[in-house]
Point group: C2
Chain length 180, copies 2
Amino acid sequence: MRLVRAAIDLYAEQGYETTTVTQVAERAGLTKATFFRHFPDKREPLFAGQAEHGALLAAGAAQAAADATPLEVVAAALDHATAAFTPEQREFAPRLRDVVAAHDELRERAAFKRAHLTDVLTTTLRERGVDEATAAVAAELGVEAFHRAFEHWSDGDGASYGELARHELHALHAAATSLR
Amino acid sequence: MRLVRAAIDLYAEQGYETTTVTQVAERAGLTKATFFRHFPDKREPLFAGQAEHGALLAAGAAQAAADATPLEVVAAALDHATAAFTPEQREFAPRLRDVVAAHDELRERAAFKRAHLTDVLTTTLRERGVDEATAAVAAELGVEAFHRAFEHWSDGDGASYGELARHELHALHAAATSLR
DNA sequence: TCTGTCGATGAGACCGTGTCTCATCACCGT
DNA sequence: ACGGTGATGAGACACGGTCTCATCGACAGA
C-alpha cells in the first residue's frame, strides 16, 4: 500500500510528531479523508503488517496435535507465523523498528499489539484445556520469543525467522524451568 | 486530586469517548488549560496512581539480599509494591478497572504501563548479573502476578494485596518450572 | 449507446485534543 | 506597600479524526 510506504518514509525522514496525516496522504497522491478510510488513525499504517500475526499464531496453534504439550502448541504457532516474515517485509523492518522505538506514542501501540498476541495464545491454550497459569506462562514465553526473533531477524543476520523463533523459545523455556 | 476523581466519575457515568476534557475540568472547578498542566493527556488521570508502581518495584528489588535468586528479587519487589494498594485506592479500583477495560484507547495505555513495569524489573535483574533470558522470564512472571493480584484485590475478597501477589507468583512459578 | 449502480476518492465543514502565550490573582517574605 | 512566584483563566491555534455531500470511472444491462 502506498500509504504505508509514505508513512514509514516520512516518519523516518522528518519524525513522527512533525509529520501531519495530510503530508502522508499527499505523498501517496491522496487526501487526508482517504487516509482515514484505510487506517483508523495516524499510527496504524506502521502496524498494518502485524494484523495477520495474531491470525497466523492462532491458526498455527490450532494445527498442533491434540495431545501436544503447551509448549509444543506455542512452537507450532510460532512456526506457522513464519509466513508473515517475507524477504519483502525485511526491507521495511529495520526502519520500522527504529521509528517505533523513537516515539512513546508508537511504542504504546506496539505494546497493545503485543498484548493482543498474548491474549490470542492464552485463549487458544485455555480452549485446549490448559490451566490458567500454565496457559499464561506459555503464551508469554511464546510472545517474548516472537519479538526477540523479530528483533534479530530485523537486524538481518540472514537467519530465517523460524529458526530464530525456535531458538529463542528454547532459551526462554530453559530459563523458565530452571527459575528459582 | 479533584481532577482524578472527576475523570473517573465522568468516564464511568457517561463513557470515556463522550466525555470531553472540558467537562472533566469543569466538574473539578477548573478549566481545560489547567487540566493539561496536571496531565499530559485525557487518559492519564486514570493511571496517575500507577506512576509509583514502577518506583516501588524497583525500590523493593533493590532491597533484596545480594545473593537473592531472581524469583526472590521479584518477590521482594512485589512485597514492597504492596504499599501502593491502600484501602483508599480500593474504593476506586473496581470502577477504574471497568472503565479501562471498556475502551481500547485506555487498554492501550494500560498495556504500555505494564510494559514499563516489565522493563523496570528486567533492568533491575540484569544489573544484578542475571542473564537476559532469565531476567525476562522472571520479570514477566512478576508483572503477571502483579496484575492478577490487582484483579483479585479490586474484586475485594478482603485479602491483602501482598498475600495475593505472593500466591499468584508462586502459582506462576510452579507453572513455569513444570512447563513442557 | 445510454443509463444506472457501485466503489473509491475529493472537498470541506466540524468538534475535540493538546499547545502556547498573555493576563490575572493569591500568597509570601521583606 | 513592594516585588516575586506559582497556580490559574482566557483564548488563539494546529492537528487528529469524523461526517456529509459531490464527483468520477468501471461496469452491467437494456
